[in-house]
């Protein structure tokens, strides 16, 4: 089936099988390997991207469902060589260790801060419930979200 998908403001036209998962389409067909595959079972959130401005687990969306729609992946977060505020905060606050969960985590945090610009610690933990991190124990991620919220409020 022919589909046309806008990813990070660039339009891509490809032919895919209906069973192709969005995450495989992004990584293998478009070469956007920043979106990771952790569990492939809708649990870990490593594959999180924005579809029409809302986070989704791209291992649980078919590429054909994204036909005609807009996607943002981690590759679309930095602009003009400048890190996105959320990326900058993860860097400054050591919000990662191995980094495997980080692309998905950043997408979820970006949505969280769009929905709730100054979340409490509890709201932060609730907002990243769909993203698992096996390294950090989450504390530095929560710190990074608070730092990003402050940076965005100051900007």
């Amino acid at each position: 089936m022919d589909i046309s998908v806008t990813v990070n403001d660039e339009r891509f036209e490809r032919s895919v099988e209906p069973r192709r998962l969005l995450v495989h389409f992004l990584r293998e067909d478009l070469g956007l390997t920043g979106t990771h595959i952790g569990c492939e079972t809708t649990v870990c959130g490593a594959c999180t991207v924005m579809l029409e401005g809302r986070t989704v687990k791209s291992c649980t969306v078919l590429a054909v469902q994204a036909d005609g729609k807009e996607i943002t992946t981690i590759e679309g977060m930095a602009s003009n060589g400048e890190l996105h505020a959320v990326q900058e905060a993860f860097w400054n606050e050591h919000g990662l260790q191995c980094g495997f969960c980080t692309p998905g985590m950043i997408m979820s945090v970006d949505q969280l801060l769009n929905d709730q610009p100054s979340p409490t610690k509890d709201e932060i933990r609730h907002g990243i419930e769909g993203n698992l991190c096996r390294c950090t124990g989450y504390q530095h991620i929560v710190n990074a979200v608070e730092a990003a919220a402050k940076a965005k409020a100051g900007a």
Binding site: V43, Q65, G127
Partner: protein
């Protein structure tokens, strides 16, 4: 994990979708948050998926004459963040916020959750307490059925081949009725082990209205009528709540699995029911 091959259609009207479903091997795709995992595990292998996402009139929340109609494709996130529901049917909005995680709530739909009929799904507890109805449409007509008639058994509903669930109907909450939803979740999946939904009206210290429904306890979510009968007309206090809640799993074939034995689940049913009653009384 890759699903088996299937054909895919994304019709733009309901009548087109119904026509495509005339083929027995076709299956509806809504948010995909239950179906795509099943396709990946090859527990489901339909020949064709009929995606409802591009039918614009299946995504809405509207009120008329004391009834709120919710389109089947309305996402859990939309229910959770609807101002109309927050004001006029807070139990449902609250419940939606308990489902899975943010990404699942962004995709999963109320129609999909109800049609999937997972015995531990969150919505059915609230919807049974609300005495909700569902609208089912087929090529030959439409019918509106009460949710407790729609839910037949675990993962089994009275949806007929070729039918699409198009709307869920809930009442505007009555004046003076307070609501609560309490769950104990299984932390790895976020699913409820047991969830209890309560609607409670109190006047002059006595229970004037009460609806209690549970999910996760048995093969089907259910109205806990024994709890309701024990409370109706009696005092609205902690003692009465605890005594009534003890009936929460009465007559139910309680499930047992690696997360909770039948005895533990039955005890959880009573505890969550009591807490939900107390929450509702506290917010009345």
């Amino acid at each position: 994990m890759i699903p088996a091959s299937f054909d895919y259609s994304a019709p733009e009207t309901l009548s087109e979708a119904l026509q495509l479903l005339g083929d027995e091997e076709a299956k509806v795709l809504a948010g995909g948050q239950s179906l795509i995992p099943m396709l990946k595990l090859r527990l489901a292998q339909p020949a064709r998926l009929v995606d409802l996402d591009r039918i614009p009139d299946l995504n809405f929340i509207a009120e008329d004459n004391g009834t709120i109609r919710i389109g089947a494709m309305t996402t859990h996130h939309q229910v959770e963040s609807s101002d109309l529901l927050a004001e006029k049917c807070p139990l449902l909005a609250k419940t939606a916020g308990h489902i899975g995680d943010v990404q699942v709530r962004n995709r999963g739909t109320i129609g999909g959750s109800v049609a999937h009929a997972d015995p531990a799904a969150d919505y059915p507890a609230a919807l049974l307490a609300l005495e909700a109805q569902v609208k089912l449409v087929s090529a030959s007509g439409e019918r509106v059925v009460a949710l407790d008639e729609f839910l037949v058994d675990a993962l089994t509903t009275s949806l007929e081949d070729g039918e699409i669930l198009t709307e869920v109907h809930v009442p505007v909450e009555q004046e003076g009725v307070a609501t609560a939803y309490r769950t104990l979740i299984q932390p790895a999946s976020g699913f409820a082990i047991v969830g209890a939904a309560v609607r409670l009206g109190v006047s002059n210290g006595n229970v004037s209205f009460v609806r209690v429904a549970l999910t996760g306890v048995g093969p089907n979510p259910y109205r806990a009528s024994a709890v309701e009968e024990a409370l109706e007309g009696g005092p609205a206090n902690a003692e009465a709540f605890a005594a009534a809640a003890a009936h929460a799993a009465e007559g139910v074939d309680v499930l047992s699995d690696i997360h909770a034995s039948a005895a533990y689940r039955a005890s959880l049913a009573a505890v969550q029911t009591r807490r939900a009653l107390e929450d509702a009384a506290g917010s009345a």
